[in-house]
């Protein structure tokens, strides 16, 4: 095959992956939704299902950790912002997905297809249940019937099975080596990183303290009050500050160049000169060096 032919095949492969992202769930489900948007209810239900699995509401933690640990991501609408964030800011790194193409809906469809694959394998530990997604919307005005109607198989799984379905995507890998040695890879785990990693970044950051958390934080003031951020209440993060008086000193030894002046505490006094924390940093030593004895612990191509 010519190099041009191989490149064409690679391009076709990558484009096909994008097409797969966009359409596979739709084909599998036999459903055609309108133009995707963060407000699309199927996508919203699916994203809420992700957030519920990753950062759930946890009444069981009230006695163990305190009442502030009960609310979860859906109580502050992380899923809705995740939709805005993924569509407006983030390209998932695949060719032909440009800023003007929504990716929320394709991701939701991919998660449904992963759920179906999990079920087909018999790897789900709990039976899907159409009432589960209804619970994600407790306290909202979205009707239960409407949720049951649009919820896909992913949202009907139990929380652990949803995570297992996300892991199904981790297994999707493709690597193609070109005749000239270059190679191109694709990894379905990217979807999981988006729907597992990003909710954590959003939830535990300062995000829900902004006056308008439905849009990006740029230009918004922030109260920097731990009480205003649910994630901070649950981590004990005290908010951003200009500084702390928390200096303990500088690592060093009395007879070395690192560390000087008074010793505040000793770190190690087993063998050799005691290592401690000193009042001043001292300096690193501009040492002579000899690499002749270098041994490669794990040689390339070695065992």
């Amino acid at each position: 095959m010519t190099r041009g032919g191989v490149i064409h095949r690679v391009r076709t492969f990558l484009t096909a992956k994008v097409s797969w992202l966009r359409t596979v769930g739709r084909r599998v489900l036999g459903r055609t939704h309108g133009a995707s948007s963060p407000g699309d209810l199927h996508a919203r239900v699916t994203f809420r299902a992700c957030v519920d699995a990753v950062i759930p509401t946890t009444p069981e933690l009230a006695d163990e950790l305190g009442p502030e640990h009960v609310p979860g991501g859906n109580d502050v609408e992380v899923a809705e912002f995740l939709g805005v964030y993924v569509d407006d800011r983030v390209q998932i790194g695949l060719p032909n997905i440009r800023r003007d193409v929504d990716v929320v809906k394709p991701i939701a469809n991919v998660l449904d297809s992963a759920a179906l694959k999990l079920i087909a394998r018999g790897d789900n530990e709990d039976e899907p249940n159409e009432e589960r997604p209804v619970a994600f919307f407790e306290g909202t005005d979205v009707s239960a019937d409407r949720i049951r109607d649009v919820a896909g198989p992913f949202a009907r799984l139990s929380p652990r099975d949803r995570l297992r379905a996300i892991h199904v995507l981790d297994e999707i890998e493709a690597k193609i080596t070109l005749p000239d040695g270059r190679f191109v890879e694709f990894d379905g785990g990217l979807v999981g990183q988006l729907v597992v990693g990003f909710p954590k970044l959003i939830y535990y950051s300062e995000w829900d303290g902004y006056p308008d958390p439905e849009r990006m934080p740029f230009g918004q003031d922030h109260p920097n009050d731990p009480a205003s951020v649910q994630g901070w209440q649950q981590t004990g993060f005290p908010g951003f500050t200009n500084g702390y008086a928390c200096l303990r000193g500088y690592l060093g030894t009395e007879d070395g160049t690192l560390g000087s002046e008074d010793v505040w505490t000793t770190i190690d006094d087993h063998d050799g000169p005691p290592v401690g924390l000193f009042a001043s940093p001292g300096r690193f030593r501009e040492n002579e060096y000899d690499t002749d004895g270098y041994v490669e612990p794990y040689p390339e191509g070695g065992a």
């Binding site: 490149i7 391009r11 990558l14 759930p56 069981e60 640990h69 983030v90 390209q91 695949l94 060719p95 032909n96 800023r99 652990r160 995570l163 981790d170 690597k175 040695g181 270059r182 191109v184 890879e185 990894d187 379905g188 990217l190 990183q193 597992v196 954590k200 970044l201 950051s205 300062e206 990006m216 230009g219 994630g231 993060f237 951003f240 200009n242 500084g243 702390y244 008086a245 200096l247 000193g249 500088y250 690592l251 070395g256 690192l258 505490t265 770190i267 190690d268 087993h270 050799g272 924390l277 009042a279 690193f284 030593r285 501009e286 060096y289 000899d290 690499t291 270098y294 794990y298 390339e300």
Partner: protein, 569 residues
């Protein structure tokens, strides 16, 4: 105002380009630096993400600490998104790349480049990585005078110790490792980070009862409130050049502008390198074409020498998208310090015994101030993170699924993989009793790993970078051994729970895609194009052994600038 012609055009105002510009300008050459992102802390751009502002800046008096205070809020979610590699216009998303595997690329756009996010860590390469691994055509000794230049201008010094570093050092010592006090590291051990961050005021000692403001001029130097990853404007109130973290925008950019020979042109994405082939053989670089990221207008500037310093992704991308010779190693040999995240959690009573208080408080101090070196394997470093970044780095991404899917009975860690559900909330409720350790391995340059482009996968600047990376079996073993050492150190420090992320390939450090000896010669001039030089981490012949690469990239850029003057002016 950008002139039609300069002695040298430098593509990229990241960590390394301004170093080359500074040296070239000190030699009396006229230099234009093109930067794809915005210019923060400059009075020519009072609203750099909301308004196009002026065209260029060449006066050091344009720099404003007050504006930097305003623009670098230190709020993690806002700043991570603000600085991430994308156009200045905040209404637009980031620039598209295909990530390596299921990982990510963490780079910034803007004057200062990824040093806007970096944590100030400025160790040298391991000498053996240069002299013994067979990748470099020059010796480690060749870099020493340039290291010293860079370290002096950046105020590199041993990092201060707060509770989190003390805990790590106690664990490393208890595990039997030795303290290293050397600049040129040849054996394993622990040491404070050589950080390009000015030391904190001595009055901030924990026993000092300081109750004043943490702003300039009440205090100078670092204020021990993290902030490096979010840009770090501390101490607030300080003039631009008195900011504690010596990112290249604070160190080398002012030094370069002060010569009077340098113009910085932000919001300028280079899309082509122009050449002439007067003798019909090797082409000669004659200039650069760039696109204004706000207006879309393109401009071509002529140059006696062109220096590519756009980083290990964009420099090969520009070469591949320009009409330059088809060179075998362009874009190949990518190293990313294939890494991992291991963290310890402590019981309050144990911390009280060890540290005299019930918390680690990773949000205090400098982000990264303690390290462990192991030439041949790589390094470990403690990482104080704010909770959002910490949650995604430590628990949000894994190459091995979720923690509940792993049996860790015989492993050195209690849990491994992504955490989710009540388990995640329980662990993060201990955020203040948690210490993350970043595993950074000495991965090696493999021809299969790197940057390619394909027509059809394009953005407004041409075909996008397709970044592919799969570590070798030996790379995995180096990383695994380092992760085990990290777990042992945390256990010896008294951790009651150790978690390993098994992170996917996440590119924090990117190098060796335009390698010296393969694409560029010993002066970093391209073999295939005269008067075209590379002065960024892509010219590094390997991953420098695992230490943070900024110092080596900058030292090499300083050396390259001298070679440019010697050869062409």
């Amino acid at each position: 105002m950008v002139d039609p012609e300069y002695d040298v055009v430098v593509v990229g105002a990241g960590g390394d380009g301004p170093v080359a510009a500074w040296k070239l300008a000190e030699a009396g050459l006229s230099v234009l630096i093109l930067e794809a992102g915005p210019f923060h802390g400059n009075e020519k751009w009072p609203d750099p993400h909301g308004d196009p502002g002026a065209e260029a800046s060449s006066d050091v008096d344009d720099l404003s600490g007050e504006l930097l205070d305003e623009q670098f809020t230190t709020r993690e979610f806002e700043m991570v998104n603000q600085l991430f590699f994308g156009p200045a216009d905040e209404d637009r998303g980031i620039w598209t790349r295909k990530f390596p595997g299921d990982g990510a690329i963490l780079q910034c756009a803007g004057v200062g480049g990824t040093t806007l996010h970096y944590t100030g860590c400025h160790p040298r390469a391991y000498p053996a990585a240069i002299d013994e691994q067979g990748h470099w055509p020059i010796d480690y000794a060749d870099l020493l005078p340039y290291y010293r230049d860079v370290e002096e201008l950046c105020d590199v010094q041993p990092a201060p110790v707060t509770a989190k570093e003390e805990l790590f050092f106690r664990g490393a010592a208890a595990a039997g490792w030795e303290l290293i006090d050397e600049m040129n590291v040849t054996s394993p051990g622990y040491r404070p980070q050589p950080n390009a961050i000015r030391r904190p005021d001595q009055r901030l000692h924990v026993d000092g009862d300081y109750d004043g403001e943490f702003t300039y001029p009440d205090v100078t130097g670092h204020t021990l409130g993290l902030g490096e990853i979010a840009g770090n404007p501390h101490p607030r109130g300080a003039p631009f050049e008195e900011k504690a973290k010596r990112a290249s925008n604070v160190s080398f950019v002012p030094a370069a502008m002060r010569t009077g020979n340098v113009t910085v042109r932000p919001n300028a994405f280079a899309v082509d390198v122009t050449t002439e082939t007067p003798l019909g053989d090797t082409p000669t670089a004659t200039g650069v074409t760039f696109r204004d990221t706000w207006s879309g207008a393109t401009t071509t500037v002529e140059a006696g020498v062109v220096v590519l310093a756009a980083g290990a992704i964009e420099t090969p991308r520009l070469w591949l998208n320009a009409d330059l010779p088809d060179e075998e190693w362009v874009g190949r040999g990518l190293t990313i310090h294939f890494g991992d995240n291991v963290m310890g959690l402590w019981d309050a009573d144990d911390l009280e015994t060890t540290l005299g208080k019930p918390t680690v408080d990773q949000h205090e101090g400098q982000n990264i101030a303690a390290r462990f070196d192991y030439p041949g394997l790589g390094m470990l470093q403690t990482v104080g993170t704010t909770p959002g970044v910490g949650a995604i780095l430590g628990f949000g991404a894994s190459a091995s699924g979720f923690a509940f899917q792993h049996d860790t009975e015989d492993a050195p860690w209690d849990t491994m993989g992504r955490l989710a559900g009540p388990d995640l909330k329980r662990l993060l409720s201990d955020y203040r009793r948690m210490l993350p350790v970043l595993v950074v391995s000495d991965d090696r340059p493999l021809k299969r790993n790197g940057v390619t482009v394909q027509n059809g996968a394009e953005d407004e600047h041409g075909p996008i970078p397709l970044v592919n990376y799969t570590p070798s079996e030996a790379d995995r073993k180096r990383r695994d051994e380092l992760a085990e050492i990290a777990a042992e150190i945390l256990r010896e420090a008294g951790a009651s729970h150790v978690h390993r992320a098994d992170s996917p390939p996440t590119a924090l450090h990117l190098h060796s895609t335009m390698r010296m000896g393969k694409v560029v010669d010993e002066a970093c001039e391209a073999y295939a194009v005269d008067r075209l030089f590379v002065a960024d981490h892509s010219a590094l012949a390997n991953g420098v052994g695992g230490p943070n690469p900024t110092n080596t990239g900058q030292a090499l850029a300083a050396r390259t600038a001298e070679r440019i003057v010697e050869r062409h002016f």
